[in-house]
């Protein structure tokens, strides 16, 4: 029998608030051959993680493995007791969790944790296990493989930690490895490195793996076969190429459609309006954390940001985590005081903090938080949440207010019955709509959207983007749209600003961001977004990021390019000694780089192949 995993009629039930057993996985059937990588894909709540955990004979608290059979390497996982399962977990089946940071013990060194399962199962003596771990570190392209094991979890980056977790799982040479959304929490530029390492290790060792993800493009790189799940039932199973190119099930088609975002037409800020005074202008904005006492170093989060937002326009701000994009929005909203620079609304200077702003200024700039779960008071009804800004800014009361609340619900395509519910009774997408409606209630001129679709499933996120684009046409509001996802930003924004460690490295019109020249960082960002076809990962691998031009270790001058350490186009003697100039491009954009337009274009042109069309 070549099937290493065989799942038949697996049913899992969960106990709900009323103490009833509700099925969350209804009869899953699939099998995995030795050396095969199977992907489980679906939205949140589709049961993909539940099924993956069932492969270890484990059910989350409140859940029960109710029926069916799960056979892994000849062991019937549902029939075994806890003690026997403990003997298999970590040895026959290993698990790589989504958040490596939460899975490592912060007070023990990495090596101890990586080889722990080999020692627990008494597979090899400590010295052999450590040697094997170093070998795995090398295979996973971790820096300094000999010594990284002596570090502690907080001393390595998130992407490295995720790879160390893979080493932890592979140390026992398990028959089956379960990867549960291992790259979801990572930036795209980090994700690509981790994926590359995973793929290499899996191929070299011929491991059998289950890859759980919501991201079809990532799965396309990793999996041989894909199982599409929805609401705990298998919709479609097929080879990766078939699922991507000829999906049979309508749900799979809708997933594919949501991933390739259609270009929403720009609202077409007409020239006459744009020429007039811009709605909001940010001039020379600096923000820093930490007390600036004397010459003590402060953490500079925003570094000389200039931004002009015309009325009715959508400005996209992208960058990886830590690039300062959220701080920028918070500074505009007045929640973080800038250390220098000014923000002008209709040409009038805004107070740096909340205290100095008028209610009218508050009304005109609204902030939509990333996470609708925490942005809505769990004890206020929807009517109260939406009614408060109406009362606060527009003095609406009683029936008029109620009517306007219902109008707003209608505006964000929610039924009127929602008004009397609490946020906890709504789904994630519904909550995000309420979050947006609350901002709209103020009838603002500018809405600051902080990663509003990041926490949502692709299909739901696409619906929110559609809604925002429609509302812009109806209400003529401006958006500042913050995201780490360049395809989302490109789908909705007129102008795109790329932030890197607090600096505006590039500002472009949306159309312009489809073709070089790019800032080297934008180029990395754009080419790191997984394309929805097989073989993409190998193509990108052609450009080895390890081969950066060498630098003589000159002392780091102040104000030099922050991207220096990762830049494939850096030039010794120039990039590490002088601050880069801001170059105005012919199409109206600007790039913060030493290289001129034609140099950048020449260096980046061949990479167009990466963009490719969607399979």
């Amino acid at each position: 029998m070549s099937d290493i995993v065989n799942v038949k009629g697996l049913r899992v039930t969960a106990r709900n608030d009323m103490g009833e057993e509700v099925p969350i996985v209804h009869g899953a059937d699939f099998s995995i051959k030795r050396g095969e990588v199977l992907a489980l894909i679906g939205e949140s709540g589709s049961g993909k993680s539940t099924i993956a955990l069932a492969l270890m004979g484990y059910a989350r608290s409140g859940c029960r493995l109710a029926g069916g059979s799960v056979t892994v390497a000849g062991n019937s996982m549902l029939a075994l007791g806890e003690r026997q399962l403990a003997g298999l977990r970590g040895r026959t089946v290993a698990y790589i969790a989504q958040s490596a940071a939460a899975s490592f013990n912060p007070s023990r060194c990495l090596m101890d944790q990586v080889i722990e399962s080999a020692l627990i199962h008494k597979l090899m003596p400590r010295a052999v296990a450590e040697a094997k771990a170093v070998e795995l570190f090398r295979a996973l392209a971790l820096p300094d493989p000999e010594r990284i094991g002596r570090r502690y979890p907080h001393q390595v980056s998130g992407g490295q930690l995720q790879r160390l977790m893979a080493a932890m799982a592979l140390i026992t040479d398990p028959d089956l490895v379960i990867l549960d959304e291992p790259t979801t929490a990572l930036d795209v530029t980090t994700q690509i490195e981790v994926l590359r390492a995973f793929k290499k290790v899996v191929q070299e060792r011929g491991s059998t793996a289950v890859y759980v993800s919501h991201d079809l493009a990532v799965v396309a790189q990793m999996a041989d076969r894909i199982v599409v799940l929805r609401d705990g039932a298998i919709q479609e199973t097929g080879m990766t190429a078939q699922i991507l190119s000829a999906p049979a099930h309508p749900y799979t088609k809708s997933l594919l459609a949501a991933i390739a975002p259609k270009q929403r037409q720009s609202a077409g800020v007409d020239a006459r309006k744009a020429a007039a005074q811009p709605l909001l202008e940010v001039r020379g904005l600096y923000a820093s954390y930490g007390a600036a006492k004397g010459s003590a170093p402060v953490k500079c989060v925003l570094d000389d940001i200039n931004l002009v937002i015309p009325r009715g326009a959508t400005i996209g701000v992208i960058g990886e985590s830590g690039s300062g994009k959220t701080t920028l929005a918070r500074t505009i909203a007045g929640m973080v005081a800038p250390s220098a620079g000014e923000i002008l609304l209709d040409g009038k200077r805004l107070a740096p903090t909340l205290e100095g702003r008028t209610r009218e200024q508050f009304r005109r700039i609204q902030f939509v938080f990333q996470n609708a779960d925490t942005a809505l008071n769990p004890l206020h009804t929807i009517e109260r949440i939406l009614g408060r800004p109406l009362e606060f800014y527009h003095g609406m009361k009683g029936a008029a207010r109620r009517k306007r609340v219902l109008d707003l619900l209608d505006l964000v395509r929610l039924p009127a019955a929602v008004a009397d519910r609490l946020p906890g009774e709504l789904s994630g997408g519904q909550k995000q709509r309420i979050n947006l409606a609350r901002a709209l209630a103020a009838q603002p001129d500018l809405i600051l959207c902080d990663e509003v679709t990041s926490a949502l499933d692709t299909v739901v996120g696409a619906a929110i983007l559609d809604l925002m684009a429609e509302l812009r046409k109806e209400l003529n509001v401006s958006y500042v749209f913050i995201s780490h996802d360049i395809s989302t930003v490109r789908a909705i924004c007129d102008e795109i600003v790329v932030l890197y460690s607090g600096r505006k490295v590039e500002a472009r019109k949306r159309e312009a961001l489809a073709l070089p020249p790019f800032h080297p960082y934008s180029n990395l960002l754009i080419s790191s977004v997984p394309a929805l076809r097989r073989g993409w990962l190998e193509e990108v691998e052609g450009r080895n990021p390890a081969a950066l031009p060498p630098l003589r270790q000159a002392e780091q001058a102040r104000g030099i390019c922050a991207f220096l350490d990762r830049c494939p186009l850096r030039v010794d003697g120039m990039c590490n000694t002088m601050p880069p100039p801001r170059q105005q491009l012919a199409d109206g954009g600007s790039i913060l780089c030493h290289h001129n337009e034609s140099d950048l274009r020449a260096a980046q042109m061949p990479l167009r192949v990466v963009e490719g069309d969607v399979a």
């Binding site: 209610r359 606060f392 009774e425």
Partner: protein, 282 residues
């Protein structure tokens, strides 16, 4: 997970657990007694009713008699306003004062928070009983001073707990959203923050009530609480402590009264404050 359709159709309210109902019944009973007790009492608080000292329970004296031959039931009913009333007033001073101060300290932050927190830390370093003894020694023992003594003594603890909660809640996005909307401090604290910290604060209120009952009983036991011939339940225990060797009900009955009150309050708070509406993640 998405709320399934069946959940949307019927909207069941979780019922109050039995323990909560029992607790509520006990609390209501004692609250009524705190008001009506003295009128219901068959005998005067100080009136010696019987020749028999430490008499057992009988039809005439349902809870026996005390060391002077006074009716225990009447003594307890007369003591209820002192024990419950004084403790309730004191806990209101402690919890309302502490929570209000804590919310404003957390929401305002900066120097106000720093000063209040340090003052409270200083107060926390003084043992309650010692503080109470000093105040009683300095100002004498009267009901208003007892209330203030217990209230101020237990306020720092209430402040600490409420501030820890408030700091967490005020970092939540919905509070930030209210700030970004331009809301005032009063709205943010009372409407956005308070409802989300009420459950733990109420649980703390109940616990603090019990501590105060015990503190007052302790003071009375030492003879520094409510002065004779009036007596709260703590004094009743002390007065009759010699009856312990005789197995007289006069010792155990006030102790049982204190116990039922404390357990009842705890059960009620667990039952009601612990209840949450389905679906919210608090």
């Amino acid at each position: 997970m998405n709320p399934s359709l069946s959940e949307v159709r019927r909207k069941p309210r979780r019922r109050v657990p039995l323990a909560g109902l029992v607790g509520a019944f006990i609390v209501v009973f004692w609250l009524v007694m705190a008001v009506a007790g003295p009128w219901l009492a068959a005998h005067d608080a100080g009136g010696v009713a019987s020749d028999a000292v430490f008499a057992p329970m009988s039809a005439q004296y349902p809870l026996g008699t005390d060391y002077l031959g006074r009716d225990m039931l009447s003594r307890i009913l007369n003591g209820a306003p002192y024990t419950i009333g004084v403790a309730l007033a004191a806990v209101l001073v402690a919890s309302v004062g502490g929570t209000t101060l804590a919310m404003f300290a957390a929401a305002a932050g900066g120097w106000f928070d720093a000063i209040v927190s340090r003052v409270v830390d200083t107060m926390l370093s003084i043992p309650h009983k010692l503080l109470a003894l000093i105040i009683v020694a300095a100002f004498g023992s009267s009901v208003p001073f007892l209330i203030l003594t217990a209230g101020i003594g237990y306020m720092p603890g209430a402040f600490r707990i409420a501030r820890a909660l408030a700091v967490n809640v005020q970092a939540m996005d919905y509070v930030q959203a209210a700030r970004a909307r331009g809301e005032g401090l009063l709205y943010i604290t009372c409407r956005e923050m308070l409802p989300n910290m009420l459950r733990p604060v109420l649980a703390d209120f109940g616990l603090r009530f019990l501590f105060i009952v015990l503190l007052l009983s302790g003071l009375s036991f030492l003879g520094l609480g409510v002065q004779p011939p009036a007596a709260d339940w703590g004094s009743l225990v002390r007065e009759n402590i010699i009856g312990l060797s005789e197995g007289a009900p006069a010792v155990i009955v006030p102790a049982i009264a204190i116990a039922t009150l404390t357990i009842g309050v705890n059960m009620a708070i667990d039952g009601f404050a612990g209840r949450k509406r389905r679906g919210n993640g608090v």
